[in-house]
């Protein structure tokens, strides 16, 4: 077929059109597969981790804050909110000054050293795997924020705000950051043993839960406990807070993969499944035992499930998650009701009963349901059997319980001697909001 070029200009336009078409066709050819390079920034991973960080911060402010605030008496509602908000601020500063370095600065077995104090070496373009190190650092910071905030529940309604701040500053330095390093830091001794703790069953929950128990015992029972009726003043807040914890926990668990991939997807799925199973587990067992299902019960059950699936979220499959969630919902119910009342300590908001017990149940069952035969992702390190994995899990659980129990007790005892950690009887009776903060949570008559 003859192409007719009416004049010179048309011919030149036509040639450019052909060249353009050729380039277009070239662009359609499949490009050779690019190998994954760990030292290149992956924007998908980074986008997810930026989001996950925000979700985990949201878990503390206002998720956990509201969860706890609703459970105390109205005269103390602000004190709990204040404690969580202040802890968030304080832990942020300490983390960037030196605690990040202790946790992630180096390769020792027990501590990470001081090479990253003041975030030395962490710049705009510094990478940690496929994400900026700034994002990794901030993500981990939100864990260092929520762990001490959890302890608030154990000493609620009777601890001095000043003593609490100092306790938390010391605690994050010599308890949280080291344990974090043992499990997640380079060269950490528990990580090296092959412990499976994906998002912090030991580092966060058993740790905070045990510190809470110690604090509850050392501070002593609230005035009037247990004879005086101290019901939650606003279960609406509590349920709202539990809901925010549930949603935010996707950042906590799925974010612990530090990437946007299949493992993160499974982590999100098992988180949802375990939480629902636990909420139902607590609700049904309470219904059977006491005759009515309660809002406080279902909210507590959900949190118990979230806690238990935390260590398991990178290693178990959906059916394992169902089992873990249900076990935690039922187990934590008994720990927070029957066992707590039998032993008589005043863990105001059941930090031990839910976080420590749920964390222990989760840690041990992670060792079981990680098995590929049970739908899991496989054992950690060089481990080859369920019993081998469970043994390592138990070592982690025990080491955490002992270390945090002993060190937290020492810090509290010393502080009590130096400055006193409990408010006066009058302050406790009036309520902490007015006594320690000069404010009222509810001014209805206006």
């Amino acid at each position: 077929m003859q192409i007719i070029f009416p004049d010179y200009q048309s011919k030149s336009k036509h040639i450019w059109r052909v060249i353009g078409l050729l380039f277009f066709l070239l662009a359609l050819l499949p490009s050779p597969a690019m190998a994954e390079d760990a030292s290149i920034l992956n924007s998908g991973d980074t986008a997810w981790m930026l989001t996950a960080t925000a979700l985990v911060l949201f878990m503390t402010i206002p998720g956990l804050s509201l969860f706890y605030a609703g459970m105390v008496r109205s005269k103390n509602v602000l004190s709990v909110l204040m404690q969580c908000f202040a802890i968030t601020s304080l832990m942020t500063v300490l983390w960037v000054l030196y605690a990040y370095s202790i946790a992630f600065g180096g390769d020792g077995p027990f501590w990470g050293g001081l090479s990253k104090v003041f975030l030395k070496g962490v710049g705009v373009d510094t990478l940690s795997g496929s994400i900026p190190e700034t994002v990794f650092m901030t993500f981990q910071m939100t864990f260092a924020v929520i762990t001490p905030a959890l302890i608030v529940g154990a000493f609620a309604e009777r601890m001095k705000f000043s003593a609490m701040l100092i306790f938390m500053a010391i605690w994050v330095t010599i308890v949280y950051a080291p344990i974090c390093h043992w499990v997640w830091g380079g060269g950490g001794w528990l990580g090296n043993k092959g412990i499976l703790d994906f998002a912090g069953g030991t580092v966060v929950h058993i740790n905070a839960g045990m510190a809470g128990l110690v604090a509850a015992i050392i501070l002593g029972k609230r005035k009037g406990y247990p004879a005086t009726h101290m019901p939650p003043h606003n279960l609406g807040y509590t349920l709202m807070g539990a809901s925010m914890l549930w949603v935010g926990w996707f950042g906590f668990n799925a974010g612990s993969e530090l990437a946007a991939d299949g493992v993160a997807g499974m982590a999100m799925a098992v988180t949802q499944i375990a939480t629902a199973a636990a909420a139902l587990g607590w609700m049904f067992i309470e219904w059977a035992k006491h005759g009515k299902p309660s809002v406080l019960g279902i909210a507590s059950g959900a949190v118990a499930g979230l806690v238990a699936i935390t260590p398991a979220s990178g290693a178990v499959g959906p059916m394992g998650a169902l089992a873990i969630g249900f076990a935690s919902g039922v187990g934590c119910f008994f720990a927070s009701t029957v066992i707590k009342h039998a032993l008589g300590y005043d863990d105001s908001l059941d930090v031990f009963g839910i976080h420590a017990v749920g964390g222990i149940i989760g840690a041990i069952l992670t060792g079981v349901f990680c098995a590929e035969s049970l739908g899991g992702a496989g054992f950690g390190g060089d481990i080859t059997s369920i019993s081998g994995q469970v043994s390592v899990q138990l070592i982690g659980v025990t080491a955490t319980l002992i270390y945090t129990g002993v060190v937290s007790a020492i810090i509290l005892k010393v502080l009590d001697g130096v400055m006193g950690i409990r408010v006066s009887e009058d302050e406790e009776t009036e309520g902490l909001d007015i006594s320690l903060h000069n404010e009222r949570g509810y001014i209805i008559s206006n």
Binding site: H229, P231, P232, H290, S294, L296, F333, S336, T337, H341
Partner: protein, 112 residues
């Protein structure tokens, strides 16, 4: 002048108020109170800790009226507030020495 204090079940407030309106009672004061008489409380349960709660929410109405209207008002309140079950409440009657309308400084029965 007499003062009537009536402690009634909260859900009966609208009915009593409407019936009093119908017989021309001009004003009432209402407070939310809690109390118990022979009506026992109930139990509440929080994480396995069971408590007996004695007090129940009630409404207290205070009305000041002329002496000659006493019986009419008492029977209106009683009929409207009654359910026939324990916990219906009580009415207390006391003497009032004087009443003053703040806006106009009127005193006595004119101020009611």
């Amino acid at each position: 002048m007499k003062k009537i204090e009536a402690v009634i079940k909260p859900f009966k407030l609208d009915e009593v108020k409407d019936k009093l309106n119908e017989i021309g009672i001009q004003g009432i004061t209402v407070t939310e109170v809690k109390g118990f008489g022979r009506q026992k409380g109930h139990t509440e349960l929080y994480r396995g800790a069971e408590y007996v709660v004695d007090f129940l929410p009630k409404i207290k109405m205070e009305i000041v009226i002329a002496d000659d209207r006493l019986d009419e008002v008492v029977s209106t309140i009683t009929k409207a507030a009654q359910t026939g079950r324990i916990g219906d409440g009580k009415i207390f009657i006391s003497n009032i020495e004087d009443t003053i309308r703040i806006r106009t400084a009127e005193r006595g029965e004119d101020a009611i």
